[in-house]
Amino acid sequence: MNNVTQIVKKVRQAPWRVQHQWIGLFLLALVLMAMIAGIYLNITVGATLAGREIQRLRNEIITNQRVNADSETQLARLTSVEAMLQRADAMAFQPANPDEITYVAVAGYTAQSAVDLSTPGKTERVVPVILPEYSESWFDYFMNQQAASASAGGPP
C-alpha cells in the first residue's frame, strides 16, 4: 500500500502545472469564443454591406429605368411625325405621289413587316441561384459528397 501511494505521489501533477492547464484551457476557450465572435461579426458585416449594396443597386436600377423611359420618350418626341415632317420640309423634301414612284423588281426583297420587339436570345426569366454551399449543413454537405462520389464511382 505504501508503495502504491509513493507511485501516485511521484506521477501526480504539480499544483502550478494544474493551474497552468486550467488557465490554458480558459484562454483557449476565450480565444475560440473570440474567433467565433470575430467570424460572426465579419460575416454579419459582409452580409450587411452586401445587402446595402443590393439596396443601392436596386435603387440605381429603378433610377436608370426612369432615365431610360425619359430618354426613350424624348427620342420619340424628337422623331415624332410632326418633327420629322418639319425636318423633311426644311431639307426640301416633299411627299411622293404615286405617279412619281418607279417600282423595280429586286430579287429576294421582302416588304416591310411589322416590328418584333422580342428580346434577342431571351428564353426564360433568369432567377438568382443560391449555391448549396451557402445553405446546406455539414451533415448535408457530407451526405451530398458521399452521394456524388458514389454516383461517380459506382457500378455502371
Partner: protein
C-alpha cells in the same frame, strides 16, 4: 518561490483577460438591451415602401413609340422639422408650381399631419428648379433652408405624338387608370400594379424585397405614317367641305388589322384634362366605334351581296325603274326622284337607285332572307373591336315592336338601320376577302418577359361565298368606272360605293337640310390590301357623297399605295408574272 511568482503572473493575466471578456459581454448585452437600440430595431424591422412599376409602353406596328413614360415628381413637405412656410411658398412660386393647388392641399391638411403632398405629377423641369433652389438655400448658412421639401420621383404617362391616333389610344389619368381607347381596353395588362408593402429594413434581408413586374408593352396594328396622313387629309376635308365632323378608318381586309383610325375632334393626350372642352356634351371620343348612324347607300353593297349570294338576283338581272316602289304601303323614291328605266344590277349600284335595291330586298328576297344576311354581316351587334366604348347600332327585325314593313325596303339602302363605321368596315371585309369576314382589331402583339405574342387573324363568319364576294367586287369596280367616279385612282382598280344618307330627327322624320356623306371602298380589287371608310357628317359645301366623300377616299388611297408599297396593278401583275 519562483513557481509561485509565475503562478501569480499567470493568474493576473487570466483574470485580466477574463475581466476584459466579461466586460465585452456585458457591453454587448447592455447595447442589445438598451432602449435606443431596441427602438431602432423595432421601428426599422419592417418599413412601408412604395413600388411604382412602369406602365407598359404602346408602339405602332413599326416600333414608333405612341405612349411611353416619363419621370414626374411628388413634392411634399415634412412638417416634423418645422418648415419655414414663407420661404417654402416663395420657392414653390419661383419654381412655377401652381400656388393655388399647393394652398388648396395645405388647407386640407389636418392639425396633426406630419407630411403634406404639395403637388403631384410635377414635371421634371419644375421639380429640378425647386431642387436647385433647395440646394442654394441649404448652402447659405445665413438663410433659411428648404430641407422640409421632399421629392419623390415616379412615372407619369407621356404621349410623344400628342394627338396622333388619340381617338384610338385613349389616355391615362393621374391615378394610373386608362380611360377610353386602348388605354382603357388593355388597362389590366398595361398597368403594372403599384404596391405599398412592408419590407424588411434589415439590409441582410434585401433579397426578400419583392420584384414588382412592369406593365406589359404592346404593339398596335396602327401604322403611324398612315395615321398621320389620314388625319391630315381629314382635317383638310373638314375645312373644304365644312362638315361638322369626320371619320376615316383604314383596315387590312385580310387580317382585320386596323392600320389607321381617326375621327374628329382629337385630343392632345398630354393635356387630357381638356377633354371636357374638346369633347363638349355627348360628343363621342371615337366616332368610328362609338357613334352609330344611318349609313345610307354604302350599305347597298351588303344588300346586293346578300341578294347575289342567295341567288335572288344575278349581275345581269334587269330591273325597270319607274321612279318609285311601294313597300309596306309606303312609297320609296330614288335619291333624285327620277325614273332610270332599264338597269342591270351593276347599273343599280352605279346609279345608287333606292327603288332598285328596295325591289331587290322586298320582291326578289324576303324579309327572312334579307335580315338573315344583314345579321350575318354583323349589323346590330358590336364587332368586339378591342377599343373601349364601342356601340352596336340598331338593326330592327320583323317582330320588334318598332319595326315597320316599309323598313324592309328602306333598310336595303341604309335608312332605318344604324351602324358604326367599324361595323361597316367589318361587314365589307367579307366582300373584299373572298367572303370571309375578319375581326377588326388594334392589338398587333404584346410583349411579356421579352417574348412577343402576335394576335392571330380571326374569321368571325363567312356570310357570303367566295364567288359572290368576287362578283360584287367586280360589279362595284365596274360601277365606279362606269360613272367615272372621283374615287378612282389612276393605275389601281378599286371597288367602292358612295352613301348620302338622310339624318333622322329625334322627334321623327328626317332632317331636310343636312346629310351624312360616306364612301367605302377597297383595293386593289384582285388582291385587296386595304379597306377605307370615309364619313363626313353634315357637309355644307355639297350634299352628294360622290362630290365630298369620294375625293377624300381617293386622297387616302393615293397615300396608302405609297406608304404600303403597293405598286400599280400593271406593275404588280408584271412582277407576279416573272
Amino acid at each position: 518561490m519562483k513557481r509561485n511568482l509565475h503562478t501569480w503572473r499567470y493568474v493576473s493575466v487570466a483574470l485580466l483577460l477574463a475581466g476584459l471578456g466579461i466586460a465585452i459581454l456585458v457591453q454587448i448585452i447592455r447595447i442589445q438591451n438598451s432602449p435606443e437600440v431596441a427602438g431602432v430595431i423595432n421601428q426599422g424591422d419592417y418599413i412601408w415602401k412604395d413600388f411604382f412599376p412602369p406602365r407598359g409602353e404602346i408602339y405602332d406596328r413599326h416600333g414608333s413609340l405612341l405612349a411611353g413614360n416619363k419621370t414626374v415628381y411628388e413634392i411634399g413637405l415634412d412638417l416634423t422639422i418645422n418648415p419655414d412656410m414663407p420661404t417654402v411658398m416663395l420657392a414653390i412660386q419661383m419654381s412655377g408650381l401652381d400656388l393655388n393647388e399647393v394652398n388648396y392641399r395645405i388647407s386640407l391638411a389636418t392639425d396633426n399631419a406630419q407630411y403634406i403632398i404639395l403637388d403631384d405629377f410635377v414635371s421634371a423641369e419644375k421639380a429640378e428648379q425647386l431642387m436647385t433652389l433647395q440646394k442654394a438655400a441649404n448652402a447659405d448658412p445665413t438663410g433659411k433652408n428648404l430641407d422640409a421639401i421632399y421629392f419623390k420621383a415616379h412615372y407619369g404617362r407621356s404621349y410623344p405624338e400628342t394627338d396622333l391616333a388619340s381617338n384610338a389610344l385613349g389616355f391615362v389619368t393621374e391615378d394610373n387608370h386608362g380611360y377610353l381607347g386602348i388605354e382603357e381596353k388593355y388597362d389590366n395588362i398595361l398597368a403594372g400594379i403599384p404596391v405599398r408593402i412592408l419590407v424588411p429594413a434589415d439590409p441582410r434581408r434585401a433579397t426578400e424585397y419583392p420584384i414588382i413586374p412592369p406593365g406589359q408593352t404592346i404593339i398596335l396594328t396602327i401604322d403611324r405614317e398612315i395615321q398621320a396622313a389620314i388625319e391630315n387629309i381629314l382635317d383638310q376635308a373638314l375645312v373644304s367641305t365644312d362638315a361638322s365632323s369626320g371619320t376615316i378608318v383604314v383596315m387590312d381586309p385580310r387580317t382585320g388589322e386596323i392600320l389607321a383610325m381617326s375621327s374628329t375632334p382629337r385630343l392632345n393626350l398630354n393635356d387630357y384634362q381638356s377633354i371636357t372642352t374638346v369633347f363638349p356634351g355627348e360628343t363621342p371620343f371615337n366616332r368610328a366605334i362609338s357613334q352609330a348612324y344611318e349609313p345610307g347607300s354604302v350599305s347597298k353593297i351588303l344588300t346586293m351581296a346578300g341578294a347575289l349570294d342567295s341567288g335572288a338576283v344575278k349581275p345581269d338581272t334587269v330591273f325597270f325603274d319607274e321612279g318609285s316602289i311601294l313597300v309596306g304601303g309606303s312609297r320609296i323614291v330614288n335619291w333624285d326622284g327620277g325614273a332610270w328605266g332599264y338597269q342591270d344590277m351593276t347599273g343599280c349600284l352605279a346609279n345608287s337607285l333606292n327603288v332598285c335595291l328596295a325591289w331587290v330586298s322586298s320582291i326578289k328576297m324576303d324579309s327572312d332572307s334579307f335580315y338573315s344576311y344583314m345579321q350575318r354581316f354583323g349589323l346590330g351587334h358590336a364587332t368586339g373591336i378591342d377599343l373601349a366604348q364601342e356601340t352596336s347600332g340598331r338593326l330592327k327585325l320583323p317582330g320588334d315592336g318598332d319595326w315597320r314593313p316599309v323598313e324592309l325596303g328602306t333598310n336595303a339602302f341604309g335608312q332605318g338601320v344604324s351602324v358604326t363605321p367599324i361595323q361597316m368596315v367589318m361587314a365589307a371585309s367579307a366582300l373584299a376577302n373572298d367572303g370571309k369576314m375578319v375581326y377588326p382589331h388594334v392589338l398587333y402583339a404584346q410583349i411579356q418577359d421579352g417574348k412577343q405574342s402576335n394576335t392571330r387573324t380571326q374569321i368571325v363568319g363567312t356570310p357570303i361565298s367566295t364567288k359572290t364576294a368576287d362578283t360584287i367586287s367586280e360589279m362595284l369596280a365596274n360601277a365606279l368606272e362606269t360613272e367615272s367616279s372621283t374615287a378612282l385612282v389612276p393605275g389601281y382598280r378599286i371597288a367602292g360605293k358612295t352613301g348620302t344618307a338622310q339624318i333622322p330627327l329625334s322627334g321623327g322624320g328626317y332632317d331636310e337640310n343636312d346629310v351624312n356623306a360616306s364612301f367605302i371602298g377597297w383595293g386593289p380589287v384582285d388582291d385587296p390590301r386595304f379597306i377605307v371608310y370615309v364619313w363626313l357628317e353634315k357637309p355644307q359645301t355639297n350634299r352628294a357623297a360622290s362630290v365630298v366623300a369620294a375625293p377624300i377616299f381617293k386622297q387616302v388611297v393615293e397615300k396608302l399605295v405609297v406608304l404600303m408599297d403597293v405598286p400599280p396593278d400593271a406593275v404588280r401583275l408584271q412582277m407576279v408574272g416573272r
